[in-house]
């Protein structure tokens, strides 16, 4: 193909500075700063992110407390021993310990609602102590099933991945949950259902493979 080096299209509009937010004096789009890009926590996250009280979303000994345990697997089926989970959830009455809740921040005795746990404990498990969350309005006139929001961090993940823990013994609530019901298959829903154990629940997370956990974009 022959290119004529002098065949330059005319400008179609006035020159705009690349920043877009300065120069004309007018905002053509919402004012917005560029969000800082994420990076992996790397293999040494334990230095910066270890909390002695990390596992206790509910204080030790809180009545009705449950242990949620599980493991994280990679695409080869191997344990991921250097991951970290963070969880955030409502209290048993469906309140959230956050001033951002438009219903008001709730205070539930002994309850923080947040946990941070590594998967380094032998044998590659995480374990967190919490209270089973209550149901929350779903914004569409119904209620969400009890759920816990999860952020999973690890070496080899350049951003956190987000998922939810639901409870297998909440079949009626789960059947009404807009998020669960929006998933394409029972198989997909199954990846989010923690199953009852002697002292709480258990759920394993699969980063890849046939059983890949459903991850969410928030």
């Amino acid at each position: 193909m022959t290119v004529n080096p002098l065949d330059v299209p005319d400008a179609t509009g006035p020159y705009q500075p690349r920043s877009g937010q300065r120069g004309t004096g007018f905002l053509t789009e919402p004012f917005r700063l560029g969000v800082t890009p994420s990076a992996t926590v790397g293999p040494y996250l334990a230095i910066g992110l270890t909390w002695p009280d990390g596992a206790w979303a509910a204080a030790e000994g809180t009545e009705g407390g449950i242990w949620i345990r599980g493991r994280v697997y990679d695409g080869a089926g191997d344990l991921v021993p250097d991951a970290m989970l963070e969880t955030w959830q409502a209290d048993p009455e469906g309140g959230l310990a956050s001033p951002e809740d438009p219903r008001g921040a709730s205070v539930y005795p002994g309850f923080r609602g947040y946990s941070r746990v590594p998967t380094v404990e032998p044998p590659g498990e995480f374990a967190l102590f919490t209270l089973k969350p209550g149901r929350l309005p779903d914004g569409e006139g119904g209620l969400q099933a009890p759920h816990i929001d999860v952020s999973l961090f690890a070496r080899g993940l350049l951003d956190r991945v987000v998922t939810r823990i639901y409870f297998a013994d909440e079949a009626d609530a789960n059947a009404e949950d807009v998020v669960l019901q929006s998933l394409p298959s029972d198989e997909a829903r199954q990846t989010l259902l923690a199953t009852p154990t002697d002292d709480g629940y258990r759920l394993d997370f699969y980063l890849q493979g046939d059983r890949e956990t459903v991850f969410f974009a928030v």
Binding site: E29, P30, F31, R32, L33, G34, V35, T36, P37, S38, A39, T40, V41, P43, Y44, L45, A46, I47, G48, L49, D74, G75, A76, D78, V80, E86, W88, L96, S98, P99, E100, D101, P102, R103, R112, L136, P137, G139, E140, G141, H147, D149, S151, F153, G156, L157, L158, D159, R160, V161, R164, S182, L207, Q208, E212, V214, F215, F216, A217, V218
Partner: protein
Amino acid sequence: MTGTTTASGLHLPRYHREAPELRTPVGFPDYKSTALRAPLRTPVDLPQRLTEITGPVLGEDRVKPEDADLTLRRGGEAVGQRILVYGRVLDSDGRPVPDALVEVWQANAGGRYRHAVDSFPAPLDPHFDGLGRVITDSLGRYEFMTIKPGAYPWGNHHNAWRPAHIHFSLFGRAFTQRLVTQMYFPDDPLFGQDPIFNAIPVAARHRAISRYDLSRTQDNWALAFEWDIVLRGSDQTPFETEDDGDIA
């Protein structure tokens, strides 16, 4: 003010999601550890509801004043170039994020982490543990004194070296805003070969690099680097758009 008003009359903010061409992907082929770890399926869109627009309040009780000075640990001074690292935590609407927990961790001046799995044969420094914590002030400002971390090899490919960096962990007000990232130093010659840095889309890489600041550099004591951190904002301005994810 954008967001959604629910059937029960609750007004929920909606946190802006950066466009894909400005966001670090979860997986990046040149960073080999992502191959078996980064999920392969497309994530399912999760509309932001009450759990996502709230988050834990983690306050002053987690931080001691000495946590802001990484150069003085176990009764002695860390070896290395002293640096002041400071900046603001903002959301993308330009609002400061006050009273926010900032956690940092880093290698020592020789490029060695005080961690059981770091076998790089650079010496450990008895007076450096590499952990810092601060809370942002009412204007979202943070600062800490540390030493400049060294570069270190990491085996991702032949002669792979991580550019000097400091890990940062931040909470905003909401689960949606959570961010873990790394701060780099200006003009690092190791950027070109580092897949963790290069996983950041070109148009956003400058956001991960601090700026040398002579005005805050302390005479006879420490260099200063400024780094502002921007968390996702909730579009709460009069200039609203219904589009999500297509505004840089």
